[in-house]
Amino acid sequence: MSDVVLSVRNLYKEFPNKLNPKALRAGVRGVNLEVSRGEVVGLIGESGCGKTTLGRCIARLINPDSGQIIVNGKDFGAMSGETLRMYRKHVQVVFQRPETCLNPRMSVYQFINEAFRNFHTCERGGERDKIIQFSRMVGLKEDAVDYYPHQLSGGEKQRVAIMRALACDPSVIILDEPTSALDVSVQAQVLKTLKELQRDVQTGFLFISHDVAVIRYMCSRVMVMYLGVIVEEGPADLVFTSPRHPYTRALLAAVPRLSQVDRSADKLRGELIMSDVTPEVCPLLPRCLHAHDKCKTRPPMFDLEQGHRASCWMLE
């Protein structure tokens, strides 16, 4: 199991509701996940389900309440001080809105160079060659290396953000909705680049998105998150062709498609209302059409086949 670059064990990060302490807490509740070298793992979920919180916890941008984050065999979650700072090189994040992470007063060259200086990932004198090499990898034209952010388009900015992540020579890159702010034609360009990158560099990717079709295109393994817990996970082909959890089924059925599909069977009731759920019950209970008495206790993960697992009492 030496090629597992990221493994998360029983991670908790909750945001209590001060007005109503008994209510379900938003955040992440007991997530386990593993990402191997060269693998793209997708994390799907609707807004507010905790996918970004999970990504931020893994990168230690916020500190989890409990649980382990193991990166490259070392306990990243327990590090602090200078050790933590230097180890951050291994876990890099690409955010949804690239314009917020670029410094308007730095050219692309200066911006990437900072990463080199910080983590000593490039020897002195070789920076320009390496940056040009990266710019080819992410499909940025060579002249753009000396541009400032305002001279770049949205897609190009995102490519720079990806470049910066790569410049740290990381073990894991967390892509948090990297294409959600982009238009379809630009999104396709960036997705294609990411897919080529994944073939070329031996890095693990955790791809967070609410767009099911994008995850389908990018990922070999997917996890579906609902209200802070993983409700279904497995190889992308299995999860997308034969989803087992009622939430996954409803989510897939709701995706707009160009081809007509019959989706009358898979529906949920109403929308997500946090106050209807308590921590002990199945999170989908108030919205599930198949809910019965047993659903008042939280279902464990049931193993199905080939690593496909789902958490629903119907699969017992």
């Binding site: 807004s47 034609s185 396709a188 997705l191 389908r216 409803a250 989510l251």
Partner: protein, 322 residues
């Protein structure tokens, strides 16, 4: 003969005007919407889909100017720049629905008083008013007693969009212009809201213009569609026809650039960006991204060519050399 056209826009052009320059951002935009129909207007960010629709009902942002074209609503001409017309003739017939529903609701008003404001404009009596509020909230699928006294921050995104819908419906519109009504919502909520809107159109014989950037969404909900690129309508027609037999290189490109959930395929991205071309004047505005551009593409705007009765395309490859 009863004319079943509710909104007719012909040759609408919109300029962005500054003290030193004048740029034509929407050029000869044509659209005809029939009663009870759901019409889709699709395009990428900045393609002009919102501004052309808003301008057609007399809403132009600062710095924009309608320089040509006529708009007829219900057979009567709309004079784009006159506020009075908006209040009188149009307000009775057209309603708008925006993307950010919470932003469209006044944070200081309860849901009930929000709807009251719209009803007051129509001089509905106090007695009648509370009955109408009740009726409207039920019509949009909300529980009136539960939500009536809540403020915008107390309700969810989907509920807010429904309240916004109730406000729009309060005027009994014949046409609803929905500008990305579900973009801010989750997919499961999105489907519910759209099914609901569709149902409303049928029940009230209301026409709807759905402005969206998501092609799949439009293909599922609309009967006819116009695809915009950089201020030109590049292709329009019946949804089934356009998607099964896309003719314009932009439409073809868009369809291969979208990831598919059911059968994942390699993506073929379109090069360049919407406004990346060398100039805007007198040329096909897609030619800088087009793989089959010819010399003629930069000499004059290609005319809209009617391929079939339900399909038109703006591309020189299908004729119309001028």
């Amino acid at each position: 003969m009863v004319d079943d056209t509710i909104l007719k826009i012909s040759g609408l052009s919109i300029d962005a005007v500054t003290t030193i320059s004048r740029k034509r951002i929407v050029e000869s935009f044509d659209l005809e919407v029939k009663r009870g129909e759901i019409y889709g207007v699709v395009g990428e960010t900045g393609s002009g889909k919102s501004i052309s629709m808003m301008a057609s009902v007399g809403l132009t942002a600062n710095g924009l100017e309608v320089s040509a074209g006529t708009v007829e609503f219900n057979g009567k001409a709309v004079e784009a720049s006159r506020q009075k017309v908006l209040r009188g003739n149009l307000a009775a017939g057209v309603s708008l629905l925006f993307q950010n529903a919470k932003g469209a609701l006044n944070p200081f008003l309860t849901v009930e008083s929000q709807i009251h404001r719209v009803l007051n404009l129509q001089r509905v009596s106090k007695k009648e008013r509370s009955r109408r509020v009740q009726e409207l909230l039920v019509a949009v699928g909300l529980d009136p007693d539960g939500i009536k006294h809540k403020y915008a921050h107390e309700i969810s995104g989907g509920q807010a969009q429904r309240v916004a819908m109730a406000c729009s419906l309060a005027t009994n519109p014949q046409l609803l212009i929905a500008d990305e009504p579900t973009t801010a919502l989750d997919v499961t909520t999105e489907r519910e809201v759209l099914e609901f809107l569709k149902d409303l159109c049928v029940r009230r014989n209301m026409a709807m213009i759905l402005i969206a950037h998501n092609l799949a969404l439009v293909s599922e909900n609309c009967s006819r569609i116009s695809i915009l690129h950089a201020g030109h309508v590049v292709e329009s027609g019946d949804v089934a026809e356009v998607f099964q037999n896309p003719l314009h290189p932009y439409t073809q490109g868009l369809l291969t650039a979208i990831p598919d959930v059911d059968n994942p395929h390699e993506l073929v991205p379109l090069d360049g960006s919407v406004w990346g071309g060398p100039s805007l004047v007198n040329r096909c505005r897609f030619s800088h991204r087009c793989s089959c551009a010819q010399d003629g593409c930069n000499e004059g705007i290609p005319p809209m060519v009617q391929i079939a009765s339900n399909h038109a395309v703006r591309c020189l490859r299908y004729g119309g050399n001028n």
